[in-house]
Structure formats: C-alpha cells, structure tokens
C-alpha cells in the first residue's frame, strides 16, 4: 500500500519528508493544524519552533472557548470519577459532544455511592422543550429554559433568580431546581465549549461560585475535543501557552485571534499549511495555500503538495491520549495495529531533514 505522495505521484516516505522539509524551510509564514495524540502534539510543537510556525487544533474554535475560561476567568471543576461517585444532582449545560454521551448515560444508570442520598436527579439547561435526551435513556431530566434567552441568558436568569433578584423572563421549573439544590450534597454541572460560548461558561462559573458560598457544587469539563484538550495540556507544559501560539519571532507568543489558523488561512496570511490528522475528514487543498497533509488515507489528498499516510492513535499504534472519562491522560494500546507510522514519527522524520543545532526535543 502506498503511504506517501508528492502531488498525485506515489513516492517513498523518506522522499516525501525531504520535500515537506524543503517546503517548510522555504515558507515565509507556515501554519500547523493538528488533531493528534500527545506525542504527535509534542512533535508538532517542536517542529513549529524550528520553522517559526503558528499552531492550532483542528477544532480550534471550541477549544479556544474552553481555554479562555481558564486563561481569563478561572473555574471550579471536578473529576469525572467524583461525579460518578458523589453527584446527587447532575445538570447538563447546553449541548454536549457525542463522545461524552456514554458517560452521561452511565451517570443515568448508576447512583452515587459516596452520597448519603444514594440517588441522582437530572436537569437540562438551555434545552428548550426537551425533557429527555437520547443518551439519558428512560431517565427524565427537568428542563430549565428561558424562552428565547439562549444558554447564557438562561444561566444568567437562573443565577439571578437563585439570588432572589427579579428577572424579566423566569426560568421554567426554577422552583423544582431551587428545592433540589437546597438539599443537594454535591451538584455537578456538565459543560463543554462545544455547546456553550464564553459568556455562558463564565455565567455558569458564577452560578457555581454562588452555590459554594454555603454548600458544595462544581463543574465537570467535558472537552469539545478530547484530542484538543490533550493538545492544550501538552502545549501548555511545553511552551507555557495553549494552542493558537506562534513562533514567528523565535519565541512562543499566545494570541487566540492572531494564531487562529482557520482565520490565518482564510485571510491569506499563510503561505503553507501543514495539517496533521488521522481523522475521517480530509483537508481541502483548494484555498490557495500550499498544503502538506498527514492523514489516514490510501490516496493523495486532493490539492495537497505532499500527502503522507499516518496511523490513528489507539487503532494503528499505541498512544497517550486525553480521556474525558478519567479527566487526565491515559495510555491506550493499539487496536488492530498496522504498519502505518504515527504522526509523531513522521513529524520527526520531516524535522530531521531541516538543519538545526540540536535534535528535536520530542
């Protein structure tokens, strides 16, 4: 099976890496986007430093909203294991990514063994008209909605009502919510940047801070992208900053607007795009920017200058990934395994072709 192409022509991986290195070296404004495991992220960031590139996650918009909650405001959070074992009230805030539906279903099927209540109640915020979600099975969830107010408006109204302030549009079922909260031992609010904007995330944290004045509550962060949050962690320990960081001036600079790779590509600021993802969505190579694609593919990516096939973390090769189920990094074995190289291995091969004083540190 062919695993590398220059244009539409099959070639050796070694040759494709040489050509990729040449393009990256000669680029005046390279950008890297990735959706990869921890070691793929580490290698990509080390390469970005070497070539002066900016980098971002493929799902940068949602990840950036979650990052901003921490960089700008801070938060109260709880581990998923503690939610399963302790949360007697579960409040789902906005739409959650499908990857986390299994865990929510698990919460619906279990009771908190570390809570004296030994039972769980569910609420849905910002899901107008919905009493159940498919992933909750037969469990009923009480909707908390504020007609036309959207998620952040509903959270604001909920916070105001709880504080005894007047609101123009009351939240549906507020009395039920207030009654349950008054006896709850450890309510957990489930949130994601996938379904909540920055204002909603901030308002949610305000509500949790209010509750914690006299009792306990916290928020479970279920990232919009697990690989994205893993990349946030690796990027932060490597550079001090989350993705949307650039090395154009030789040192890392974090700027969520300037290094939004999607924006940079759309505006024509970049002249070369290295995209690293073993996901099913292949990049479009037709926006006028040269594309190097590291993808899980059996054929060249349309419009790409270079395509190199890579394996999928946890399927083709063992990997370290972020798990929303444990709230930390986990080692995963290869599934069926294959000869496809990991993203990290290919990135290192490319970096080896770029002259530097020292070997890549990752």
């Amino acid at each position: 099976m062919a695993v590398a192409w220059i244009g539409n022509r099959e070639t050796l991986v070694e040759r494709a890496c040489e050509q990729a290195a040449m393009l990256l070296q000669s680029s005046r404004c390279p950008v890297i986007s990735f959706d990869t495991d921890i070691h793929g992220t580490r290698a990509a960031i080390a390469l970005a430093e070497r070539i002066g590139a900016a980098y971002d996650h493929v799902e940068g918009a949602a990840i950036s909203r979650e990052t901003a909650l921490f960089t700008d405001k801070g938060a109260m959070t709880v581990a998923p294991g503690e939610v399963r074992r302790r949360a007697d009230v579960v409040v789902i805030v906005g739409e959650l990514p499908a990857v986390h539906h299994g865990f929510v279903a698990e919460l619906a099927d279990t009771v908190p063994d570390l809570s004296a209540k030994n039972a769980r109640e569910f609420f849905l915020i910002g899901a107008e008209g919905a009493e159940t979600s498919s992933f909750l099975g037969s469990r009923k969830a009480t909707p908390l909605s504020c007609e036309g107010a959207g998620l952040s408006g509903t959270l604001a109204a909920l916070r105001a009502q709880r504080a005894g302030r007047r609101v123009s549009k009351p939240v549906s079922n507020f009395d039920d919510f207030a009654r349950v909260l008054s006896t709850a031992k450890f309510p957990a609010f489930l949130f994601s940047g996938h379904g909540a904007d920055g204002l909603a995330l901030e308002m949610l944290q305000g509500l949790i801070a209010d509750i914690n004045r006299k009792s306990r509550a916290s928020a479970l962060h279920l990232p919009a992208s697990e690989s994205g949050w893993g990349s946030v962690l690796a990027s932060t320990w490597m550079t001090g900053f989350a993705p949307r960081t650039g090395f154009a001036r030789g040192f890392p600079e974090f700027d969520p607007w300037r290094f939004d790779v999607e924006r940079v590509l759309a505006s024509g600021e970049a002249d070369l795009h290295l995209r690293i993802s073993a996901g099913s969505v292949l990049p479009a190579g037709d926006n006028g920017v040269k594309l190097i694609a590291l993808a899980k593919t059996a054929e060249p990516v349309a419009g790409a200058e270079i395509t190199i096939a890579i394996g999928e973390a946890g399927v083709d090769h063992a990997a370290v990934v972020y798990s929303g189920r444990t709230g930390t990094l986990a080692a995963v074995k290869a599934g069926r395994g294959s000869d496809l190289p990991s993203a990290a291995a290919v990135i290192r091969l490319i970096a080896d072709k770029i002259p530097a004083e020292a070997a890549l540190p990752c």
């Binding site: 921890i38 070691h39 580490r42 960031i45 080390a46 430093e49 921490f70 960089t71 700008d72 405001k73 801070g74 938060a75 109260m76 959070t77 709880v78 581990a79 294991g81 503690e82 399963r84 074992r85 302790r86 698990e106 279990t110 063994d113 570390l114 004296a116 031992k185 450890f186 914690n212 306990r216 916290s218 946030v232 690796a234 932060t236 320990w237 490597m238 550079t239 001090g240 900053f241 989350a242 001036r249 030789g250 040192f251 890392p252 600079e253 974090f254 063992a318 370290v320 189920r325 444990t326 709230g327 930390t328 990094l329 986990a330 080692a331 990290a344 020292a358 890549l360 540190p361 990752c362």
Partner: protein, 543 residues
C-alpha cells in the same frame, strides 16, 4: 572519558573533603585519582568552589496542578524576556524545557516534584520527561482517597494498608509518599470548611491524625527511604503553629518530614493577631531528632500558589492577585491555584522573617532543607538570593530595611547573628537531601558517586555566584559552562519499585470496575508511554 577538575576548593562534607584539591571523573562516575593517568579533559577550577550537584526535595515542577497554573496565567509567561534560542524551547517562559535549563544553570541536578496525584501519574511523568538535563522524582499523594479512608475506617490490617501503599508507589513510579492536609479534601467535598489534626472526616469517622499515623507507619515498615512527607492541617492560618507542634509531637519516634514549615510558623499575638512562632517551632524541631523539615521561604514579589490542599486554596480565593483561581475536586485530593503577590507589608514581611528565623534557629543543617515550596513562597530562581540571605547577616538587614518595621519589631530575625558556612550550605543542599531521599549515589563526591558536580566561581556576591555556575556536570556530561547550557540531555525520574501484592491488585481491579466503571488499566501505564529511552531510574528500598 577521563576528566580532571583541577585546583578547586572541594566542599564535600560526607567524605570530609574540605579544601583545595583535584577531582577525577571517568564517564558517569567520580573516581579515585588514576595512577599516572592523563586526563582526556582538564577543567581549571582554580578560584572556584566544587560541590556535588544540588538536590531540591520539594519543588512543584510538573503535573496537573502545575500545568493548570500555567494555563491560568499566560500573562506571566508573556512577561518573560525573549532570549536567543540556544536550546530547543528553552526560551519558553515557565515551560518544562525552561525549568530544566534554569535549574541546571544554578548547579542543581536532581529535583523532586512533591505532589503527584496517583490518578495523574502518567501526565506528571510526561511533563517531567520534558524537563531536560536534571533527574527528577515524585512523591505520590495519599490520605484523601476513598480506598485508603475506607480501609482505615474498616480497621483493615496494617499489612493490607502497606500493600496498597506499595502498589501506589510502584504503579505511579514514585520515590515516596506525601499526605496533604490529611482527610481535608474528602471533608471539603462534604462541605466542611476547616479541618484540624483531630477532626474527623464525615462518612468515614477517621481523624486526620489517624490517617497521618497510618501512612507514617506504612512508609516506615515498607522501607521507603524518605519518611512520610506531611503537609499539615491549617496551612497559612494564624495559630497554625499549634497544629505543626501537635504533628511534630505525633511523630512519636518514627521519622516524619514536615513540608514548608514557614507556612505554619504563625502565632496569634499582637494587634493583628499574626505573629512569629518560629522560635517555638525551631526549638521543637531541635529537640525531636526523628523530624526533618523544609522551609517554604517567602520572597517578595508575584508568584502563584499551587496546592492539592483544596480546602485551604478555596478559602484563599479572596486574596488572589490577579483575581482568578482554579479549584478542582479530584479523585482524592484535587487542587487549587491561587495567584498571589507577596508584598513588603506587615504580613509579607512577617512571613519572610519567619522563614529565615526557622532556617537560622534550627541548629542541624542535616534536618532543615531549603525550599521556597516553588512556586508557593517564591519561584525556585530565588534560591541564589536566599542562599545569600542565609550566609550574610548584612544582606538580611538590607532586605529587611525595605519591609515592614512593625513586622521586624515583632521578629527575632535582626538579633540572629548566625551566618551559614559553605559547608552548611553543601550539607543542606546536597548531602542531607540525598540522605533523606535514599539517593546514595549523589549528594557527595566520593569515589563511585554519580558525577553530578557544580562548580562556582568564588565571589563576594553570593547570589551571583550561586545564580550562574561556572561549570556543571550531570552524569559526567558537561552541561553548563559560564552559566550557559552547553549540552542538552535527558535525565531520568527516580523511582522505587516495590513488587505489588497480587491479592491487592485483584482487589483494586474489582474496586475500580465496581466504583468507577473502569478497568484498572486506565490508571496504570507502561514505561513506553513516556517515549524516552530509559525514562526511569530505580532506587532501592531499605531492607
């Protein structure tokens, strides 16, 4: 390769070498002078002092809470001066890569991350593996986890508890065990807001004292070289000296290490109800030979406090500067991140003075360890200035003159004449930490020791001397010259490797599947996950 370090002033208290002489290195080890041997390389150390590489026993350099602090404070990294890129990612402020370089430049070759949550061990070791040059180690946190609290509540046998502690240390690749405000994080989840040594964790009926004593006994009986590392209750509270005193008394002849004692050195005297209890605590330490302590010295300026003492950090939210915090209820401890600026006001000056009083009033340099509890009291980069304060009364008086006169009037610091000698500095920063951690191969420069060596050009400016080593060798590699990195290498994480009890593994497997709905495999990892050659170095337990 045979290297001769010629003509330096050797300071090696362990081997009784104090004075001018040569030191020989063959490959990774220090060796006896070879008979008639010609060195492949000679380092001229005339005008320099030669010490073993320094060892930091308590510095928060990696793991979930440290990384969350980085995430919370991008403005602090951005404030770092941009420098030419000499080594990969070494110009990234407060990154793993920068951490290793900065430590090495000061002559440090081994650093212990003292608060690893067992559930986040993989994350912690991945960060540590990206810290270049130096060796690292971790202490695994126990004492707020349901499994242990349930065993204590149910009167499980001492052997069963030891099996659990051994499994935790082995599976997380730790060098020791730490307990942080024992029981308080579990109590906080049940809305308890203060927690003292004899308070009881709701739902378990287990006191903080009982948790500490249980873990202390397990660590001792397992032969873990480093005594139980204790972060006491009531950190930072006026009157916390009583808690520290009670914890020292509770050691009852068995080794115990108290972390960052400065943060407990607070009395309740004076109109502000905040005073120094350093003299009282120092006297207690002096008279309790089985107890060792580190200081957690405060230095003036901006920092960020990072602690798994989530109850304490929650209560400190109001003092955050800038006004943003992260409070995390984790499996077991969790953590709190609260940025803070130590000002030269009454409280800041009092904290600064209390730390120095403890350093100077505790007589035995083998039992008192320099730390700033990085970054809680100050960043580790403040160490050279701290050494100057310990070695120079004039330097102390000068810094005190910029602080609060009211605080200094209530402190004994200005009356203390003691100045640390270079030998005492070498004990406190090299020999004693190696002994405390069970690292026989370092902390001294005898034949057979690891060639971790720091060479400083002698200067009256002590902070400058210790801030930029003339030469540093790590495992015999010359890694620093004239304060700059000359070679990039990857150290190891030092770990114990007690063999797990099979019955305990079965029990933990069943526990995780039943309570968390997950296989135990989610909480363990193979060495290959670190993706570095030989990421770990094994240290033996005491027989």
């Amino acid at each position: 390769m045979l290297t001769k370090i010629a003509g330096g002033e050797i300071i090696d208290p362990v081997n009784g070498r104090l004075g001018k002489g040569d030191l020989w290195i063959r490959d990774e080890q220090i060796v006896e002078p070879p008979a008639g041997g010609d060195a492949d390389r000679t380092i001229d150390a005339s005008g320099c002092i030669v010490m073993a590489g320094a060892i930091d026993i308590h510095s928060h350099i990696g793991g979930g809470n440290v990384n969350t602090a980085r995430l919370l404070l991008p403005e602090q990294h951005a404030a770092h001066m941009a420098r030419p890129a000499a080594t990969p990612l070494s110009n990234a402020g407060w990154s793993t890569f920068e951490t290793g370089c900065l430590y090495a430049k000061m002559g440090f070759t081994t650093v212990v991350e003292p608060a690893m949550s067992p559930g986040a061990a993989l994350h912690t070791h991945l960060e540590l593996a990206d810290i270049p040059i130096i060796d690292k180690a971790t202490l695994a946190i126990l004492g707020n986890d349901d499994f242990l609290l349930s065993m204590i509540r149910d009167d499980s046998s001492q052997q069963t508890i030891e099996d659990y502690v051994a499994w935790t240390v082995g599976s997380t690749r730790a060098l020791g065990v730490k307990v942080i405000n024992a029981g308080a994080a579990a109590a906080f989840k049940e809305n308890v807001r203060t927690f003292a040594l004899d308070d009881v964790v709701p739902s378990y009926g287990v006191s903080s004292r009982k948790i500490v004593k249980t873990l202390q006994a397990a660590v001792d009986r397992l032969g873990i070289p480093h005594p139980l590392h204790v972060h006491c209750n009531n950190l930072g509270a006026p009157g916390a000296a009583d808690t520290a005193a009670a914890t020292i008394a509770a050691s009852e002849g068995v080794p115990l290490h108290l972390a960052h004692l400065q943060f407990y050195g607070y009395g309740t005297e004076g109109k502000r109800k905040f005073s120094s209890a350093a003299a009282r605590l120092a006297e207690l330490v002096n008279s309790t030979p089985q107890v060792t302590i580190d200081i957690g010295q405060v230095m003036f300026g901006q920092t960020v406090t990072i602690s798994s003492d989530v109850m304490r950090q929650f209560s400190a939210r109001g003092s955050a500067s800038p006004k943003k915090t992260v409070i995390h209820d984790g499996d077991g401890n969790g953590g709190g991140i609260v940025p803070y600026r130590y000002r030269q006001d009454f409280y800041g000056t009092m904290q600064w003075a209390i730390g120095l009083e403890l350093f100077l009033l505790i007589d035995d340099p083998w039992r008192v360890f320099f730390t700033t509890d990085h970054p809680n009291g100050a960043p580790f980069t403040a160490y050279p200035v701290l050494f100057e304060l310990l070695m120079s009364r004039d330097a102390r008086n000068e810094m005190a003159s910029g602080g609060s006169n009211g605080a200094m009037a209530l402190s004994t610091l200005s009356s203390i004449a003691r100045e640390y000698t270079l030998e005492e500095i070498a004990i406190m920063t090299r020999a004693a930490p190696a002994k405390l951690l069970g690292l026989d191969d370092r902390g001294h420069m005898g034949s057979g020791a690891l060639a971790d060596i720091a060479i400083y050009r002698k200067s009256k400016d002590i902070a400058k001397m210790f801030g930029a080593a003339a030469f540093v060798f790590k495992n015999g590699d010359l890694v620093v010259k004239d304060g700059e990195i000359t070679r990039y290498r990857w150290g190891r994480a030092l770990r114990l490797n007690p063999q797990p009890d099979k019955a305990m593994v079965r029990r933990l497997r069943e526990y995780h599947e039943r309570r968390y709905g997950l296989s135990l495999d989610w909480f363990t990892f193979p060495d290959s996950a670190i993706a570095r050659e030989q990421p770990f170095g094994e240290v033996a337990c005491r027989s």
